[in-house]
Symmetry: D2
Subunit: 469 residues, 4 copies
């Protein structure tokens, strides 16, 4: 599996696009851009690209022809290397923005509107003036076979270039807005993924899984066993590309350990007896859809689907990583960590190890195997983690990004689990701890409101009590 990486898959994606468009582009009489352009898109080639873009946007020869030309442009883009693509995108960003003069005129008309009716009309026109011509170009790409996939890939190219570049960022806002409209959750299909799914799709799960790496096809098969569920959202025009997927375990009681959950040697349990659904991994698959969110709907729809099939389910919870805990801890200690440990804890620690800083202790390899250290650290780390999850904020909201996601969706912090993930990643991120966020269906709305409105973090009594210890 090691050699199959995300970028490999994306390369293949683009290759398939190129092939799919070959014939379409053949229809464009103006010749075949992809065979002409230098991969770097040097100055000398840029004028040609400019003229072709102009032909598309002006709609010369009718929309049908314009879309055939867009296919050729798209093929040209795909044949470029990273530098060439940046240059291509810059042309679009610079030359297909809104025209300032048109906007100014429309604003003037709006301001001088005499009555409501005139203002309504002027508003429509102002809105149109603000719609940049590149939106039209993007839409033309959509008419191609797999065109929407092309746009998603193009945005993946654009995103890193948009940081700190106003023109590129403006174009990114346009493209994101368009994609958000097209990827409205109303258009997405929720699909169950199982061992009967195409290998070509399962291979993508392996590549895209971002939380707990899928180590082999056997590991994957275990995650699709009869007491497991996996669901993904798909767009009808990208049927082979999952947008986001979630892995669920149907178990008895809320799970407290990821190793047990992923142990291939454990026999499958009868899912109809399960009382709890554990969402143990949620992965976004498309970098080009960053900021277009459907995670909350995914959870809601999966809960609906599961309750329809398994009548004994009572609890819905996650078993989640705490990606920012150690980083926060280190910063806190840096900033004067004296108060992190209680004096008595610090004292006991000093008897065991030479390190004076808690993070140094936690950096020791294999401290988690040292029972003396473990029994000493458990209480303070759980407390610190509860503090981190419940009280540490960034712009009013939970500092932890996974926490922020689930709290926004109306979950509460249910339980912090000690020695729940002792893999290297788990130790590095959160000293081996994991957290359950729980979705109590009757509290979701209220939790959401309290969190979005006042940044208030819902938590179980048990977790709150940790703070007070």
């Amino acid at each position: 599996m090691n050699e199959m990486s995300n970028s490999n898959l994306i390369d293949r994606t683009l290759w398939s696009l190129r092939r799919a468009w070959r014939d379409v582009a053949g229809a464009a009489k103006d010749g075949d851009l992809s065979g002409i352009l230098h991969p770097d898109l040097p100055e000398a080639d840029q004028d040609l690209v400019r003229r072709r873009i102009e032909l598309c946007v002006s709609g010369t020869g009718g929309e049908v022809s314009a879309r055939a030309r867009a296919a050729d442009l798209g093929r040209g883009y795909l044949a470029l290397n990273a530098l060439g693509r940046e240059r291509f995108l810059r042309i679009v960003a610079n030359e297909l923005g809104t025209e300032r003069r048109t906007v100014d005129i429309a604003i003037e008309a709006y301001r001088s509107a005499g009555n409501d009716d005139e203002r309504d009309r002027a508003q429509s026109e102002l809105r149109q003036a603000l719609e940049s011509p590149r939106i039209k170009l993007f839409t033309q790409f959509n008419g191609l076979p797999e065109g929407i996939k092309f746009l998603v890939e193009m945005r993946a190219d654009l995103l890193p270039l948009a940081r700190g570049d106003a023109a590129m960022a403006a174009m990114d806002r346009d493209l994101k807005q368009l994609l958000a409209t097209w990827f409205d959750v109303g258009f997405l299909n929720l699909q169950r993924i199982h061992w009967q799914s195409p290998a070509a799709l399962l291979e993508k799960l392996i590549a895209y899984e971002a939380v707990h790496q899928i180590r082999s096809w056997d590991d994957l098969k275990n995650r699709l066993d009869s007491d497991r569920r996996c669901f993904a959202f798909f767009h009808p025009r990208m049927p082979d590309e999952p947008l986001i997927f979630v892995e669920v375990a149907l178990v008895t009681g809320i799970s407290d350990n990821i190793h047990t959950l992923l142990d291939e040697s454990m026999p499958a349990e009868d899912p109809h007896k399960a009382d709890t659904a554990i969402f143990y991994s949620i992965s976004n698959c498309q970098r080009g859809l960053a900021g277009v969110s459907f995670g909350d709907f995914l959870i809601k729809r999966v809960v609906d689907d599961l309750t329809g099939h398994f009548h004994n389910l009572k609890n819905f919870a996650t078993l989640s990583p705490i990606p920012g805990f150690m980083k926060w801890l280190s910063e806190a200690e840096e900033a004067g960590g004296a108060e992190l440990l209680k004096p008595v804890e610090a004292e006991k620690l000093a008897q065991l190890v030479d390190d004076t800083k808690l993070t140094d202790v936690l950096a020791r390899p294999d401290w988690i195997q040292d029972e003396a250290l473990v029994s000493l650290l458990e209480a303070p780390l759980l407390r610190l983690c509860a503090h981190y999850l419940l009280n540490e904020k960034r712009h009013e909201y939970a500092r932890d990004r996974v926490g922020h996601f689930h709290l926004s969706n109306g979950a509460r912090v249910e339980r912090i689990n000690w020695r729940a993930n002792v893999s290297k990643a788990g130790m590095t991120q959160s000293a081996g701890m994991m957290v359950n966020y729980r979705y109590k269906l009757e509290d979701i709305e209220a939790n959401h409101e309290a969190y979005r409105g006042k940044g208030q973090v819902a938590a179980s009594t048990a977790v709150k009590r940790l703070l007070r210890l």
Copy 2:
């Protein structure tokens, strides 16, 4: 078949929506609007609707909850009668428009932007300020099962109300813009319809056929025979609803008579020997998508599909009605018809009939059976028709709406056919004449440009010669 009307089908559509949403709406804790509202939506009920809309648009309780509430609102809407719906739409139009103050502030910010970067950002904000909250509400409806169908139906309700009503018209522009984005041709599936298609779908063809009425299931079956093709565009989220469909006959030579084409007693020919594809009927199916066009793409895609399957096809043409000819003729005669007929023609006519006006002659029942009249009128009517199609304009473009559609797509006027449709409708619209528009693939772009740019109508030599006779 008579009793199955478009409105019947739509009623059933709405009923199915209501049923599909029952459970979704059940999730909304605020109760069930559809059971509460009076069908008229009197003053007393409007406040409740206002509050519910407000809850949706504010996103209270999170997007997931908001969409559950939108389901309930939608169900409420469907339970209203025509008056109630008008009132409902008026609330949305009046209260969910853009807020003038917000727009004014955003304009101010834009005008005072110091540099390009600031202006880019201000522009984005201005655009957002101009996006009315009802767009959000419409989008929430889209999240429902068959939500997009609901929006199409709602626009069908809205369209007649928007004529001459600025607020409603502004809302219609919003809704149309949203639907145009969602019904981008890139998302549509071209699907062949045949006798193996579901009866429930075929029934809709019968209801929606707008050019040559389908008289019975046998008539329909004949139109789906082996030497016929029928294609429709579908949206992936409205898989049971054709958006537009075209009926094609695969024949030898360009057809000149609709009765022959639709004759059920004619045996099917071998389509692989056909050299000509005749597009003899194109019907839009969704009133709610008026102004969102995909007809040109439909023709292009069907031509592509046919050439892929039938290698002997050389000609692509229509056999089209001329819906505005008689109306124009009558207006022209009213305005001084003396010049319509040449003196010698007028003279001969006077010998045969008492009527002094040409339109009076054409209004006689069964004149088309009177061989003397027919042989006398054929030449002048063909000439007049050629004049009408080639020279009569409305805002620079062809006056005839069917003509305008095909000329915009790059076709040319190929031939005018005498006694081509002697049904009542054919006689009333165009004195029994029909016209072939021909798509010569190599001329489409040039024809389109000449027509869109200068209103220039492409025509065959034969048709041009008619003018000179």
Copy 3:
């Protein structure tokens, strides 16, 4: 609908076979039989056919080649007319029977077998000797596209010829045996048919419906409404051809009138509230499968499917015709009808009409509208009908063929319904009466055993009481 008949459909079937086999047969190097043979298959052509059959059966050139030759033979068969086909079948019957000498030898070997093992082996060989070579030919036809359909059609041709013709009858037994193995219920798919089904399939329901003629597409649509169900068995290799179908109404209480059941103007009821499933029509579709029975499995499987979906269903019953009642009555009267009516009934009848025979009265047009007659005849006719259904036998079993079918399956005679079907057919067959057979799930086995073993007819108390009145 009138012009679409069963035979039309079958003709089209054969035409499609011919087309499907064109290419396959092209592979047979021996030339194309269908282009050579005279439709009558005169003496002169029969030798050619004989030689070709010989080549197939001998397997010359390998099985793959033999099947290609069989395609050509099959195509030849399809090009023959009725006379030609009879001659073709006679060749197969006469020349591909078992060889008497081979059988005799095998019998001798069996009889002289020394021990069990030898006998086992000899038995196998005897069985093989008894397997006629035409079985091999039939099997080769099966390898063709739609080959099994061809065999079903061929048996439909054969059946009438097999009556009273020993050789043809022997061949029919072979073919029937083969088809029975291939159409084992284990291979059949139960499929629901609804308004979403292909028109090409629904058209076949219209043609095949044998109990209550489907008058129009609207009538059909009504029978597929939300409170109706239609199920059919299909063979995986004949996916477009229903083998048998049943129409079911989901109602409250056991229906007593077919007109009400089929009334298109009645609104659909909520099927989830229904307590009764009425099987009101069962039609076999393939003449060529006569004697291969799956009706009992159909009812069982449909009951299973319905109970899975509709939890309020408590009763399963038919509303059935009584096809043989009037015939029996007429024969009974002929044979001395004095006892059919009680003296007092006969007396009253004599006061109303001149006819002395009951069947003459029942032959009067519109007697069913004559309230005096109706009220007089109701009691005796119900009694006579109960007698007919419960007591009249043919070879130990119920004389009525519909009755025999349901009683064999374990149903009981539940109720006789007066004026239940006053159509011409209903009056002619059963004086307007219909009967409910009821499937009480817990009694099916016992009823079946009692009926199959002792010809004992199960009946409700109410029906038994009719006998005693």
Copy 4:
């Protein structure tokens, strides 16, 4: 992959059957055999089984009930261990054979038949008498969900027991005959298998591949690349179980080396440029279908499919193992191998190695790396191999079983390839050699006839020449 074995998969198959039948069997009122029987099926339990079998075969309570009982019996069977199953099968073999008395009576009737008609009828009855009741039981199992899979598995259990056991062998003949009828090639679907196929299916390819082991999912993916094809036959009632599959490489020129063919690091070629299809692996998947052949049809159908898609294909050939070569060589040497090598060859060999026997030389590890030995042995081994393939017979036909398969299908021996498979298996079977069998479409019939009729092996001139060297 190592731990996933064929028997694992079959265990899972049976488990799924057990689950599928749970509900069906629930319907059988007689209780649940699988919960009652001891896995060994000791004497004490056998009577119960006998009674249940009797109930099935007698059809008590009707066929529908009988099949429900058969489900229960089947479930009982699946719960038994190997010993229990043997005992179960023995009961069926011993008690459900044909009844001798019945057969004797039928024979008597046949012998005393007075005329053809009587004989025809008597023949039918004799055939029926010879049909053992267990056929009925097997057919009843077929009515269950996945019943046919059950029968295939049951035959896999039966096959080893039938060797040298007359009663079991007789039952095996019955079961095989039934399966041969049901698995007639006319019912099978040819399906392409690719990387979009379900993982659950691909996993079976890995398990069933019998010629060149599939080492990993990456290896498998390589075999399904764009210049490779894989096809399998499926039965419509066992859609998840391939019956036989073939792996094909689309290449230029006839391949001479399996390592090159399976090399994952080689880039895929453009299959549309390929002139040769190499069938490099054919694997039967179902032990229970031993003796039911469809390999020849598979090759024919795949050739048809490929030629339809790839118009440059001119050659169809295999790259096949020679499984029996070394065994024959060893036997030949044992029996007096003096003549295997020519004197001059033997002399040279003696100079290089001490071994006096050729097979001892070939048993040396890594001799294939010793260039001196290799160059010495190439000529004689190719000659010996040609002799083995062309001249060595068993019952008139080619001794090599792979050779026999392709020669029966009409192929010829095209080329023997030196150092074509130097894996351990390749060295052990055939001293690293492989052979191409070539299917020249125009010679297939003649080759088949010459081989089947006279055991004549077709070969290319090049191979024949090897013999003469």
